[in-house]
């Protein structure tokens, strides 16, 4: 992806005699990249708690936690894709499709309601992965086409968007959306478990190491014997599965398969991942950062709602500007790091 030339001379001189100050600077930039989102999140929460009485109430915090679960799960899958140096623009549509399929499937029992969206969205992800890894097509255009495809399937399933399927009242899916454990919604628990699993998979498993290797340098990874194609196919399938699951959970929460959801969600997911410190060039990223990024976006949205006089479209302006600032900072930090 990157067109910048890396200077072999500079790289080769790195390991030898480094001045102490340089190493400290490098550590600082690494720290800023890894925890910048978390610091920004804490600061924003602090300021919001002081400024708005309604912000730090348990109701508001609980609503925010539940409200951010769906984007969080989508962004989890997106993190894996972006760490391999790819991008998945189809998640917004597959998210909506997952919700509709779950609601439609709930009339045939819980198993269908959960497995159908996972199967269909996972299949879309698998096709994305095959086209990208085997046929070597550009990720953004393949997933852009998949976005159209998923939206088309959604329209075909819902009589051109005119039918909204309701989740069966007494099904397990409905309980999933309503019940809570220890005062925290089940949806939040599920998301937390998924993030722990995701973080373990990325940092501590062989698959995770392959993901980093493919994103760092595809040719080198291939020469090392890493299964490049298989890793890529796996991350896009994973992203499809995550989006489908998030859609199914969202249907459980709303008790219906809303057809107009998920438009622009891929942008929020990418923004969250990038704000979390993951590099879009691949090879570098954290699951924890993604979570901080999702929560930060959610808090910004909440603050804009609290102000009241501001329209909700300000949120888009703020997230877009935020994304630009973070990307500029990342590019700058990355360049500084390479120069040291």
């Amino acid at each position: 992806m990157s067109t910048q030339m890396k200077s072999p001379v500079l790289d080769a001189s790195l390991p030898e005699e480094e001045p102490l100050g340089a190493r400290r600077g490098e550590r600082l930039t690494a720290l800023a990249q890894q925890h910048g989102a978390l610091v920004a999140l804490l600061l924003t929460v602090l300021i919001a708690s002081v400024s708005f009485e309604a912000f730090p109430t348990s109701d508001n915090l609980g609503n925010m936690a539940v409200g951010s679960t769906f984007l969080a799960i989508v962004a989890l899958g997106m993190t894996f894709v972006i760490v391999t140096g790819g991008i998945d623009l189809s998640v917004g549509s597959t998210f909506a499709l997952g919700g509709v399929l779950a609601a439609w499937g709930s009339q045939y029992g819980t198993l269908v309601a959960l497995l159908l969206p996972l199967a269909v969205c996972g299949l879309i992800g698998l096709v994305n992965g095959l086209l990208i890894a085997k046929s070597r097509l550009a990720p953004f255009i393949v997933t852009l086409a998949a976005m159209l495809l998923a939206r088309g399937i959604l329209l075909a399933v819902t009589d051109e968007g005119s039918t909204t399927y309701l989740v069966e009242e007494r099904s397990f899916l409905a309980t999933l959306g309503e019940e809570s454990l220890l005062g925290v919604s089940l949806l939040v628990w599920i998301t937390a478990v998924l993030f722990v699993l995701g973080a373990l998979a990325l940092r501590r498993s062989r698959f995770g190491q392959y993901v980093y290797a493919v994103g760092g340098n595809e040719d080198a990874a291939s020469l090392m014997g890493a299964p490049v194609a298989r890793t890529k196919i796996a991350v896009y399938t994973l992203s499809g599965l995550c989006a489908g699951l998030a859609g199914a959970l969202n249907a459980a929460y709303l008790m219906s398969g809303v057809t107009i959801l998920g438009v622009g969600m891929e942008l929020d997911a990418i923004a969250a991942v990038v704000i979390g410190g993951t590099l879009l060039t691949g090879g570098f990223g954290f699951i924890s950062g993604t979570l901080a990024g999702v929560l930060l976006l959610q808090v910004i949205k909440n603050i804009i709602n609290q102000i009241g006089s501001l329209d909700s479209s300000y949120q888009q302006v703020v997230s877009g500007a935020f994304l630009a600032v973070v990307v500029v900072a990342q590019t700058w930090l990355g360049r500084k790091r390479r120069m040291l």
Partner: protein
Amino acid sequence: MTQLALRGVPLDRARVLRLLQDYGVYAGVLALLLANVLLTPHFVSAENFRTQAVQVAPVIIVALGMALAIGSEGVDLSVGSVMALSTSLISLYLGYGPVAAILVAVLGGMLVGLANGSLIAFIGVQPIVATLALMVACRGLANVFLPQLKDVRDPTMASLGSGSVLGIPYLVLIAVALALLVAFTVKRTTFGRQLLAIGDSRPAAQLAGLPVRRVLVVVYVVSGALAAIAGVLATARLTASDPTSLGTLMELSAITAVVVGGTPLSGGRVRIGGTVAGAVLIQLLTATLIKHDLPPSWTQIAQAVVIVAAVYAARERGRR
């Protein structure tokens, strides 16, 4: 012997594939036209052709800018949002007269392009990400400026949207003029040459002393301006400003037109004629499906398949 061997060449796979990549889009347009003439009732009428041409004009204009961005080995995802921004600016500034409003709208698009280009050229952000950020922010800005749909009641705008010369709508004339202008720029000017050189290999262009950054900024400014013009024309045709929905998925249509038209995503080559034909092909395909009562869901699925097929067919060129 050599003669014989040479004669065998034209039929080999690579050659056929290259011909298909270069002229497949024109063949596709012809085939679709022929099929429609034979199978679709009421297809051959001046009214129908005029409707199709008016509908495709904004897509062509946006696709021209997209072709330049893709030719420089980038992409501009913000075009749809720039259209929305331009429509809301028109509404806001119509009080100062239509000419001022159009100028402000185009200037707004150029500013967005300047932001895109600066992020990409000076800071070194990937084009996908830079234009993605602007895409989100501009859609929001458009909605902040103009929260809901508003009628545009202005005689100049109305005549721009529905007027015509010798039976050809202004919209189509403007699109054709812009296409010729961009084609001339790419083929015959220094700027066009520099653009292609940068798209081919940015490090090489840099070493050759080309003004890489300036050219990249200009590419995105032009793309922003063209998208804004498309937004103005779409507003004039609809006689309303709808910042929420105008231009959604326009980036996809534009990229499709460019790619189907044979411009490789790897940069270094721009085909304006192919791009225009690509936009027409997608328009005809959609129209055909709609005229035969296929629902929009199937139109979208078909479009997705066409995109993947076109990129798949074009991929060999990248490796050549």
